[in-house]
């Protein structure tokens, strides 16, 4: 089926080459980082994780969110999602690949990557994270490929994939729960030390992922003959609405615990992020942008008229995605380190090389996404009008 990615319009190829060029530039900067060391980034002794790990954390959520289309379809036989399950599954693949690349970019000794598997350490959450991520990637490639292959031949997917589909449904939340445990099990980092970290992660994942799928569906419909269906997009809109409400609520709960208890350690990071401490407040504009986008998206989503209108739904989805990208891809990780264990403040801001490498990884993600979607859409275009009963 891969050959389907090799034929395309002029626009398709311009897009592909643009992404390749960005990837190339990112790679050149990565080589620079390899030779100089991670000192090329804005990270320091006090803020020892930054943009890379933030992106990883955010993208794990996007990867996990595929389950939001796969689950209703396979477990509840929700036929409307029939056309887009493949889009969900194929979104998971580049997301996990990007997660792995960000981890790789963040390692001081990337050549020793295999040490995680050579010296398996069951007491380290990171070991389990590597395991569940790898497993999830394989599951989605296998399932996506098998389902699409069957669709192309107009036959129901083979029976052997069914167990893998159910497994992937159970597996998806686990990748995000385990990632949340990376943070929520650390002593002395009060901002992360919260039992609702895992559910917060799930809520934000199930809001940001489906909102991206909505946008992708609209793009696919605009540029190809494949129509994911209005009803499917509307159903996704409802999912985003409820999960985003939960997400905002959970953040509110964290605020309550911190500020009603008035325990200094629990208040400090929130103060730093939203008001600034001792004149430090580099993240304030970002965090407020995130908050405003969240409110804006909720207004559009909760109001049925604007949710039903695809234009405003697209705006709401973009707002959700941006808001959560800031909150999880940046504020959550960086904030955890500020103030440091000595209650001193060291600020963090990504450097230019760090940003270019990050954009490069995103370009690889979009490249894989484009190729996979091209294949899926081409197969779909061929079988347009034929409904297969799976």
């Amino acid at each position: 089926m891969l050959e389907k990615a090799l034929t395309g319009s002029r626009r398709y190829w311009i897009w592909i080459f643009a992404l390749l060029a960005i990837t190339g530039i990112g790679f050149i900067f990565y080589l620079k980082q390899l030779s100089y060391g991670l000192g090329i980034t804005g990270m320091s002794r006090d803020v020892s994780w930054g943009l890379y790990i933030g992106q990883f954390t955010f993208l794990v959520g996007v990867a996990a969110s595929a389950v939001m289309v796969v689950l209703p379809y396979y477990l509840h036989n929700y036929k409307v999602f029939g056309k887009i399950t493949i889009l969900g599954e194929f979104l998971a693949v580049p997301s996990v690949v990007m997660c792995m690349l960000f981890i790789f970019a963040d390692m001081g000794q990337p050549m020793r990557f295999m040490n995680i598997f050579l010296h398996p350490t069951p007491n380290s959450v990171m070991f389990w994270d590597a395991m569940v991520l790898g497993g999830y990637l394989l599951l989605n490639i296998v399932v996506g490929w098998a389902v699409l292959g069957a669709e192309r031949k107009d036959v129901p997917p083979p029976n052997w994939v069914k167990p893998f589909i159910y497994l992937s449904i159970a597996w998806a939340p686990s990748i995000h729960i385990v990632t949340a445990f990376l943070y929520s099990g650390l002593p002395g980092r009060d901002f992360w030390l919260t039992a609702i970290m895992a559910v917060r992660f799930l809520a934000s994942a199930f809001a940001s992922g489906p909102s991206l799928i909505i946008i992708l569906c609209l793009i696919v419909r605009r540029f190809t003959k494949f129509d994911p269906g209005r009803e499917a997009i509307q159903a996704l809109g409802k999912i985003v609405t409820y999960t985003m409400i939960l997400n905002v609520l959970f953040l509110g709960f964290e605020f309550f615990t911190a500020f009603y208890s008035r325990i200094p350690g629990h208040m400090h990071t929130f103060e730093y992020l939203y008001y600034g401490i001792e004149g430090y407040g580099r993240l304030i504009p970002l965090m407020w942008t995130s908050a405003i986008l969240a409110v804006f998206s909720l207004i559009l989503l909760i109001n049925p008229a604007t949710r039903r209108n695809e234009k405003t739904l697209a705006m709401a989805s973009a707002a959700v995605f941006m808001s959560l990208w800031i909150e999880k891809g940046f504020g959550l990780v960086v904030g955890g380190f500020i103030p440091n264990p000595f209650e001193k403040i060291t600020e963090y801001w990504p450097t230019m090389p760090e940003t270019v490498i990050t954009i490069g990884v995103w370009a690889i993600g979009f490249l894989i996404l484009t190729v996979l979607y091209k294949i899926a859409v081409s197969v779909r275009e061929e079988t347009v009008g034929i409904e297969v009963d799976r």
Binding site: L38, Q109, L118
Partner: protein
Amino acid sequence: MSISRREFLKIAGASAIFGLGGMAIINEITDDIEASQFSPGPDALIAKRWAMVVDMRKFKTEEDYRKIIEACHSIHNVPDFGNPKDEIKWIWTDTFEHAFPGQEHEYMEEKLKRMPFVLLCNHCDNPPCVRVCPTKATFKRKDGIVMMDQHRCIGCRFCMAACPFGARSFNWRDPRGKDDKGRPFIKEENKEYPTRTKGVVEKCTLCFERLAKGLKPACVEASNGALIFGDLKEPNSEVRKVLSTNYTIRRKAELGTMPSVFYIIG
């Protein structure tokens, strides 16, 4: 250090059976494996549980602090990059409110508030840095020393996020290199102690290499009795005597990491 396949299966099996509750057992198993590789020489200093007491009453001048920091950093080839962003330190000083956050109050004696406290890795009994390390590059020996295996560290910096004491440093750049003016980051290399590469984490290892030769840690030696070092499990040891006759505090005891560095304030 390297664990055999069988041992891994044992660990994996144990973790599957006991789930998170089995963690303690796993720690036991890995402790044994890791401890076995060190065979101390005939004169080695041996203890069941090493500990240190910092007697702040004995620090009088800047020089007293400088001496012990210098002793450690010079023999261990700790680089000086000359900027806080890349900084690496094994032993250093900070004020009371930073060393013991949450314990200070507005009406405290000014002198105590401003007094520089000697800080280093606490060699915690229950070290979170060891718990989170995905490669066992940081591990705890039976005698309580929390060790670093720089050849195994992948530089993920999970341990830095986990250590609540800011005791770990990362080599953001090559410590063997030179600055713009051609000055090496390691001023005078001690050939007897390895240098590190970029991309790994490092910290105080309680001078395990000196203990193996029968010597006390370099900072203890340079401290003129202000740092007291010994076996916590030995009722007659000097540390135990000091601990039983003085009021001592530990950093962030409420976190349950059980630091093995104690402070006599005065």
